[in-house]
């Protein structure tokens, strides 16, 4: 039961974008830190700015 609730909570966070930064860090570690001189990941604040600006380019809401 508790496990299910936790799973739902994860889904809810993912859906709302609450964990977007954590997801980004994971992606960064996986794909962009193969070399030593790779640039460090963005800060939470910088990432959130980019993420939000990206999100609102194009048709995102309907009638």
């Amino acid at each position: 039961m508790l496990k299910k609730l936790r799973h739902l909570w994860h889904l809810f966070r993912r859906l709302s974008g609450d964990d977007a930064y954590e997801q980004y860090l994971k992606h960064h570690v996986e794909f962009h830190q193969a070399t030593v001189d790779a640039p460090p990941p963005l800060s939470r604040k910088e990432f959130f700015r980019l993420w939000q600006d990206d999100k609102w380019k194009g048709v995102k809401r309907c009638c």
Partner: protein, 689 residues
């Protein structure tokens, strides 16, 4: 054994669906329970999803679970991200479900509950859901290209341009009509106006919170925002009872319209994080929460529907909008049955998140079924009202008269009983000064929702529920308005960028101000005309929006049909061809009537001529004579706009048919732009999970 049980289960569902449908279609009694509608809807959706969508996925589209999706191939951690299907479903549904499916069914309820309900069910299952699903599929196979790009790649430059221009025009009309709905809900209602006004600083606070105070804590900020919104509904009641404060928020339609126009401009120019993004979070949570609450309340309460199955207004004399059942019910209910706008979400945004092609069926087809269900609930909320009350609220003063006594006498003359006292009592229960001639659908939906919520969760809170419902509608109408104006601005900048590089830069301030002004002026004009029109404006703008939206749906279905034929699947082309043929018929007939009908309540030119004659003869009262020249000009403009929509539709259609003919004759055509197959690497992991 298992198989037998399954077969029996589906046979039972089919029998139940047939039974419920027969029940609602053949009922001629006083009233019918809303549960019949819910049962019919759920069973039909279940059968359509289980069989029709599965068949389309397997046979028509031939979905390939082992093929890598764009999200997997182009994963960049930002817009292309392989995502869990429930998450994508949530994003997709939040994007497609706006105020449309709430307003359309409410207006169409003037024909009775039956025609609208049948069209919502049949239209969604055979049309809307199919459109969303195939568009999602084709866009996924083309790296998430937009509808406009696909039209250009697959049909030709004409189709591509038509889709682009069509989208822009729809946006303008849609925003105008939505703005009008909000204005009509706020007119002389200090409670509604103050609550809606409060959503702006609340959204800004949430935006600042997410940006600077606690960056990226979306849920935390949203929870605070939702709390503040609910508080603002309470506070509105307090303002309404305050002698001086209430005068600050007690306005005519026109000042409110100007306020919305200024707000729209500000929202398009301000950075997204300050207003648009936080407002969207709030409206999404409100939307999902309220729809869920409404579904629960309907199931708990099982309200009776009081509207007749079919009213006498199928003959075209309806007070809410003129025009016969065919074609106007199919124009009035676009969202909820089939909505071209969805094709813009299904192409472009959603495909970039899919981790596997097999999710297309649930997200594309299933998402539309859920939206259709929202439309059914709106239909229920509109038809649980006494028909007399429903018509008294929704009929414009230009049709039933300005005075309460006249309006009541007129509604009574149609055979629907309602009294002045009853309307006064209802208005005071809802905390409003009057509910007569509150056109646009939002107030009557709010009254319907308030009475459902009131009966299910406590009757003494009616006024609170009413204003909660108004706030709920207004907040996501304003989100659509913000987002739409911004999209319109981007599209315009994109187009102008072809002529002048500088104008095409999305962050170049003079260009931002210039293009935003044009877009706002576009919808602001229609909003202004709608407000000064004594017939309420909704009766003109909503059909125009419906025609435009169905035109876009027809373009999307044209693209899909063209691709099916070019892929050598001619024998399956009817899957998209059939709804396409229906939409072309409906849109063309409706447009023809809107242009050429001699009925002044239907034909634009007829109305313009009628008004011009009266004006020349001096037969109009002074207040009407003052605005008549503008209204006459607008009727002409609307007629030409309608003509434009139909011409665009036929150009794309003929273009597509010629393309198919060339292909079938073995002549060279534009090549399919599908991206070559790559095997998915995620599938193995999926299997192991």
């Amino acid at each position: 054994m298992n198989r037998t049980i399954k077969t029996i289960f589906w046979i039972l569902v089919a029998v139940l669906a047939a039974f419920a449908l027969a029940g609602i279609a053949l009922n001629r009694g006083e009233s019918i329970n809303a549960l019949w509608l819910i049962t019919a809807a759920v069973c039909i959706y279940a059968i359509a999803y289980r069989f029709y969508s599965a068949w389309i996925a397997a046979k028509v589209l031939v979905i390939d679970e082992t093929r890598a999706t764009p999200a997997e191939r182009l994963d960049n951690g930002r817009d292309f991200i392989p995502t869990n299907k429930w998450i994508v479903f949530g994003h997709h549904f939040a994007a497609i479900a706006g105020p449309g499916p709430l307003i359309g069914p409410t207006l169409a309820a003037q024909f009775g509950y039956l025609p609208g309900t049948l069209w919502i069910l049949i239209g969604a299952v055979l049309g809307g859901a199919v459109q969303d699903m195939v568009t999602l599929f084709f866009s996924t196979r083309r790296n998430g290209r937009s509808l406009g790009q696909m039209a250009r790649d697959e049909i030709g430059a004409v189709g591509g341009t038509a889709a682009l221009v069509g989208t822009f025009m729809i946006m303008i009309i849609l925003i105008a009509v939505l703005g009008l709905v909000v204005v009509n809900a706020m007119k002389h209602s200090p409670w509604a106006t103050s609550t809606v006004a409060a959503t702006i600083p609340i959204a800004m606070f949430v935006g600042l919170y997410m940006r600077n105070i606690r960056p990226g804590r979306v849920l935390e900020a949203s929870a605070i925002g939702v709390g503040l919104l609910l508080f603002s509904v309470f506070a509105g009641g307090w303002i309404d009872h305050h002698e001086t404060l209430r005068t600050w928020f007690d306005h005519d339609g026109l000042p409110l319209a100007y306020a919305i126009i200024i707000y729209g401009f500000a929202a398009a120019v301000l950075p997204v994080w300050l207003l648009l993004a936080p407002r969207d979070y709030l409206s999404t949570f409100m939307k999902l929460g309220t729809i869920l609450l409404l579904a629960i309340a309907i199931v708990i309460l099982r309200p009776d529907i009081h509207m007749p199955a079919v009213t006498q207004f199928v003959d075209g004399t309806g007070p809410i909008f003129g025009g016969k059942l065919f074609p106007f019910v199919f124009i009035t209910i676009a969202c909820g049955a089939i909505s071209g706008f969805h094709a813009l979400i299904s192409s472009g945004t959603t495909p970039k998140l899919l981790s596997n092609e097999r999710d297309i069926r649930m997200i594309g087809y299933g998402g539309m079924l859920l939206e259709s269900f929202v439309a059914i609930m709106a239909m229920i909320a509109a038809t649980v009202l006494e028909p007399g009350v429903f018509f008294a609220i929704n009929s414009p003063a230009g049709v039933v008269g300005k005075e309460a006594v006249d309006a009541v006498a007129k509604v009574n003359s149609w055979g629907f009983s309602v009294t002045v006292e009853q309307m006064q009592q209802l208005a005071s229960d809802m905390g409003e000064s009057t509910l007569f001639a509150r056109t646009g659908g939002a107030p009557s939906l709010a009254v319907g929702m308030a009475s459902i919520f009131g009966s299910a969760f406590g009757k003494h809170l009616l006024a609170l529920w009413y204003h909660f419902a108004i706030m709920f509608e207004a907040i996501f109408i304003l989100t659509t308005l913000d987002a739409g104006t911004r999209v319109g601005r981007f599209m315009l900048q994109d187009m102008l960028g072809n002529f002048n590089k500088k104008l095409g830069e999305t962050s170049y301030t003079p260009s931002v101000i210039f293009t935003s002004s044009i877009v706002v002026a576009g919808w602001g004009y229609f909003l202004y005309i709608g407000v000064i029109d004594p017939n309420g404006g909704v009766n003109i703008l909503w059909p125009l929006f419906g025609i435009a939206n169905q035109m876009l749906a027809a373009i999307a279905l044209c693209v899909a049909t063209g691709i099916l034929v070019k892929s050598g699947k001619l024998r399956y082309a009817w899957v998209t061809g059939l709804p396409l043929a229906w939409l072309v018929t409906v849109t063309t007939t409706a447009a023809y009537e809107k242009i050429f009908s001699a009925d002044v309540r239907v034909g634009f030119f007829a109305a313009a001529n009628d008004m011009a004659t009266k004006l020349a003869a001096g037969a109009l009262p002074t207040d009407k004579a003052a605005v008549a020249p503008q209204l006459i000009f607008n009727q002409h403009l609307d007629a030409y706009l309608t003509m434009f929509f139909v011409v665009v539709l036929w150009v794309v259609l003929v273009d597509m048919l010629l393309l198919c003919a060339r292909y079938l004759a073995g002549k060279p055509v534009l090549k399919l732009s599908e991206v070559p197959r790559e095997p998915s690497r995620l599938v193995e992991n999926w299997v192991r999970d």
